[in-house]
Symmetry: C2
Subunit: 249 residues, 2 copies
């Protein structure tokens, strides 16, 4: 058996997210994992089970998601890439394939993940990026957002920033960086962390946007973290602005 | 009457090009001009006739097309922009509106136009820009393309580089710049000229790509210009890679 690692790019607009759903018809997949497994299974003649690094939500995109699977197929990596380019829909692309050692596991071995949340702030819409950003016309207080971002960086219990219901699973994560960048009408929030709870990047975004709009003080971040209650944080930002940029091993 | 100038951004994928067609049903427009005129006519209660700076082909995009129209409407520019943002489809946006003097004519007054043709050269497709580029995996000889581009710059009879059939209409244009730029898998051809004949940017692109692939010598450009025959130049590059960037007055 070979253990193969794939780098996957996708436009999440049409999909119910990364993770295959229990009730999903394997012949009519509506998730990215489901679609990839369908094509990989046809390619190898085996029932492929893919392990993805990140379970991105419905509508979230990926520049470079990472996944791995075991196969007995004797196809070369180049043959596989050609097959995938030919049979995958235009909104999913496998951009690299590599053979890795048996112990590689896309999820458990991931050390860091990088996401970006893109906001278009000009009054009129942006046609070319319309599916890959949140259009929020107006001026954001970037200095206040940066102060708030600084208070969120580091190792914290991020329970206030997730919609995951479990009170027992650990919610401590390290956010190595949360940067607020600006260029010509765009505001981008760049996240780098050792792991992200369900909806964490989007709730962090929603909270920072409240700060940017002046409806919440940057200094309130400490109290929100301490509360460990979803209701303490800001709203969930829309999925389409979020993109998984990179998984680091 | 007020003379209003609009800056228009569009994803041309779904349209038959800029120019309204004679047989087009005004209630079911399939061109960008037709769609804009439909919404502008509803907005003003008048039969609006729009003058566009460039007649982009079916499938060609625009970052900033310019158009103007006359109206007796008393709506403010801000009210118009809000109306247009609300009623235009997501693949067309009016990004600016200004009142200009009576003599302004979007087409006749245009001094220069800038276009870009985008080529993605990595082996695997690019998901997010898939509708806004040509995917041409492989290596291009950029030095040869730059030599050829240099020979095409300047004032020439570009009859070999158009599908326009007329032998009588003047075909002399000045190409102020034709730059070949490269960055991380992308090759971009930047055109700036006083005017472009029908399909000229796409045939220049198709010809330069022949040079880049080694099927044509850079030094052949002089002979192609002299021939003044469409058959002397290279093929027509696909529409989706082309984007009108700017119209200068």
């Amino acid at each position: 058996m070979r253990n193969l690692k794939l780098v996957v790019q996708y436009d999440g607009s049409r999909y119910l997210g990364w993770q295959r759903q229990r009730e999903e018809d394997p012949e009519r997949p509506r998730t990215i994992q489901g679609k990839l497994e369908q094509v990989l299974s046809r390619m190898t003649g085996e029932k492929v089970q893919l392990i993805g690094a990140c379970r991105t939500d419905a509508g979230v995109h990926a520049e470079a998601q990472v996944a791995n699977f075991l196969t007995s197929s004797t196809l070369s990596l180049q043959e596989m890439l050609s097959y995938l380019t030919r049979y995958l829909p235009e909104d999913i692309a496998v951009t690299a394939a590599d053979q890795v050692d048996d112990r590689f596991h896309a999820r458990y071995r991931a050390r860091r993940k990088r996401y970006v949340y893109r906001i278009w702030t000009a009054p009129q819409p942006q046609v070319f990026s319309r599916r890959y950003c949140l259009h929020l016309p107006g001026t954001l207080d970037l200095e206040a957002m940066r102060r708030a971002a600084g208070l969120l960086e580091g190792k914290h219990d991020f329970r206030s920033f997730t919609t995951a219901k479990s009170r027992t699973k650990p919610a401590v994560r390290t956010l190595y960086a949360l940067e607020v960048r600006e260029r010509e009408g765009w505001v981008e929030l760049h996240f780098e962390g050792d792991g992200f709870l369900h909806n964490m990047a989007r709730i962090l975004t929603g909270t920072l946007l409240e700060v940017g709009a002046g409806r919440l003080q940057a200094e309130a971040m400490a109290g929100i973290l301490e509360a460990r209650e979803r209701s303490a944080a800001g709203p969930l930002a829309p999925a389409q602005g979020l993109c998984l940029l990179e998984v680091l091993y």
